[in-house]
């Protein structure tokens, strides 16, 4: 089982929790798993079955876009959702 760490603007979707447990076999199935367990959260971060372009997804600190879709999430991992903002 992995956990998803949420930023404060998203916590109201899951009853104020900072982290939530998630059962997903791999990265590809993560959006569907979120939609099933946390529909309010899914409404805000998932569009057409995938994460919206304004959401940054990190797996153990690395940008999820650098991982293949079959990346194993069954083993404990920390998935972090952040708003996609930057500029330095």
């Amino acid at each position: 089982m992995s956990v998803i760490r949420l930023p404060s603007p998203l916590r109201s979707s899951v009853g104020g929790q900072t982290t939530i447990p998630i059962e997903a076999t791999d990265l590809r199935s993560l959006p569907a798993a979120i939609a099933q367990l946390y529909p309010d959260l899914a409404q805000r971060v998932i569009k057409d079955g995938a994460f919206g372009k304004f959401v940054s997804v990190f797996v153990d600190g690395e940008d999820a876009r650098f991982f293949p879709p079959d990346t194993d999430l069954a083993a404990a991992k920390v998935v972090e959702l952040l708003p996609a903002v930057s500029g330095g």
């Binding site: 708003p83 903002v85 930057s86 500029g87 330095g88």
Partner: protein, 423 residues
């Protein structure tokens, strides 16, 4: 009698906000109150200040701007927050004709927006000025940022000037001159083992856990608005006309996208006419997610995991405004280039030796891109081309210079060593 500027211990607005009506989500379009939120409360999308531009009477607006301070605050009616009273003047930098560089590149009318002359020698003083004003308005006592270098100095100086604490987070390999200047202003400089994008992720986490104003995170809707003011100034300095072409260096993409916002707002307020303004993206080949997307038939931006370029201030592999930047370039019928480190170094030298302006590699990227676009035939006769020069070269580590040996204070030795040059 001499005027003494004093630092304001708190927030004291010098002008009133008149046109701001709230924050609008770029994804879902929802208009929301201008409170402490930094993402859309409905869909988590990015939010940007929205204005009732029709409420600004054009002749009055123009008069107010032209008679306003010689800083970016002359555009206060088009900004989301009022000027603080701390007297820290940013912007209103010169727009310089560049005839020698123009001749070298084969461009008829070339202008340089010299933003190397801001207080901390980069354009980052502009977005920080707006974010800082918002931080004071919110009563925050600490501001912070993730930075590739220039932003760190801008945040550190603005915090010092306004009596705030500052934490600046930078990649470990940031140029020593940029780290040193931020530290001299009294900021806590946190060096992170990782790329800018990893630093940015860390700051996203910290922004949630500390009540600080992260200028490019929790204050971002305000911060990004400062970047509009370069184009505002260019248009005013060109006699209230838009340049036909603007070449913009791209890191996060915010400067490019807000250039388009500025064009749109100037048209909406009828301060300029309907003349077309092509917006071009400039990136180093070692980190060119936006330029590569433009040049690959406008595809989606693919992030760069490990940027490799001498233009470290543009080494943002996952630009948050990247896809929007590609859209802006396309909508403006602009173009893009990705230039090599060698082209960047040549461009820095061409600019310095022909126009007397010494820029950091990001400036070299922009100048090199202009040369590439000129060679592609993008610029036509009679068209005005503006290049943004966003960072000064004096913060860089000196490159290896091919200098002759030191001489004795002796005229004959001088003539002997320099015989080739004196011929």
């Amino acid at each position: 009698m001499a005027t003494i500027e004093t630092q304001s211990p708190g927030y004291e607005a010098t002008t009133s906000r008149r046109a701001l009506i709230g924050l609008r989500c770029r994804a879902c379009g929802a208009l929301q109150p201008a409170d402490e939120r930094y993402v859309c409360g409905d869909c988590f999308g990015p939010i940007e200040p929205a204005y009732d531009l029709a409420s600004l009477e054009p002749a009055v607006l123009k008069w107010e701007i032209e008679n306003g301070p010689r800083s970016l605050w002359r555009y206060a009616p088009l900004l989301p927050v009022a000027a603080p009273a701390s007297g820290y003047e940013v912007g209103w930098t010169p727009l310089l004709a560049a005839p020698r560089l123009a001749a070298l590149f084969g461009i008829e009318r070339l202008y340089l927006k010299d933003d190397t002359r801001n207080p901390t020698l980069s354009f980052k003083d502009r977005p920080v000025a707006i974010a800082l004003a918002r931080a004071l308005e919110l009563g925050l006592d600490t501001i912070a940022c993730a930075s590739t270098g220039n932003l760190a100095g801008a945040v550190a100086a603005a915090a010092a000037r306004n009596g705030l604490k500052a934490f600046v987070f930078v990649p470990e390999d940031t140029e020593p001159g940029k780290i040193a200047s931020a530290a001299e202003y009294g900021a806590h400089v946190v060096r992170v083992r990782g790329t800018y994008d990893q630093v940015n992720r860390l700051c996203g986490r910290l922004a949630d856990e500390h009540g600080w104003g992260f200028v490019n995170f929790t204050l971002r809707p305000y911060y990004a608005e400062g970047s509009k003011t370069l184009l505002f100034e260019c248009a005013e300095q060109l006699g209230w006309t838009l340049p036909h072409h603007v070449v913009v260096p791209v890191g996060s993409g915010a400067l490019l996208t807000r250039t388009a916002t500025a064009v749109s707002q100037l048209r909406a307020t009828t301060l300029v006419g309907d003349e077309h303004c092509h917006i071009h993206a400039a990136q180093p080949a070692g980190c060119a997610p936006v330029s590569d997307a433009v040049l690959a038939d406008w595809r989606e931006v693919a992030p760069v995991r490990t940027p490799k370029t001498i233009a470290r201030s543009l080494a943002i592999g996952a630009p948050s405004d990247g896809d929007r930047a590609v859209e802006v370039v396309r909508e403006s019928r602009g173009s893009a280039a990705a230039v090599s480190d060698e082209q960047i170094a040549d461009a820095i030298r061409d600019l310095a030796t022909n126009e007397g302006i010494f820029v950091e590699p990001a400036g070299g990227v922009n100048v090199a891109t202009a040369r590439v676009l000129a060679e592609r035939g993008v610029f036509h006769a009679g068209e005005t081309v503006v290049l943004y020069l966003t960072g000064n070269g004096y913060k860089q580590e000196p490159r290896d210079l091919d200098l002759r040996p030191a001489i004795a204070p002796d005229a004959d030795e001088f003539r002997e060593i320099y015989a080739e040059v004196l011929r």
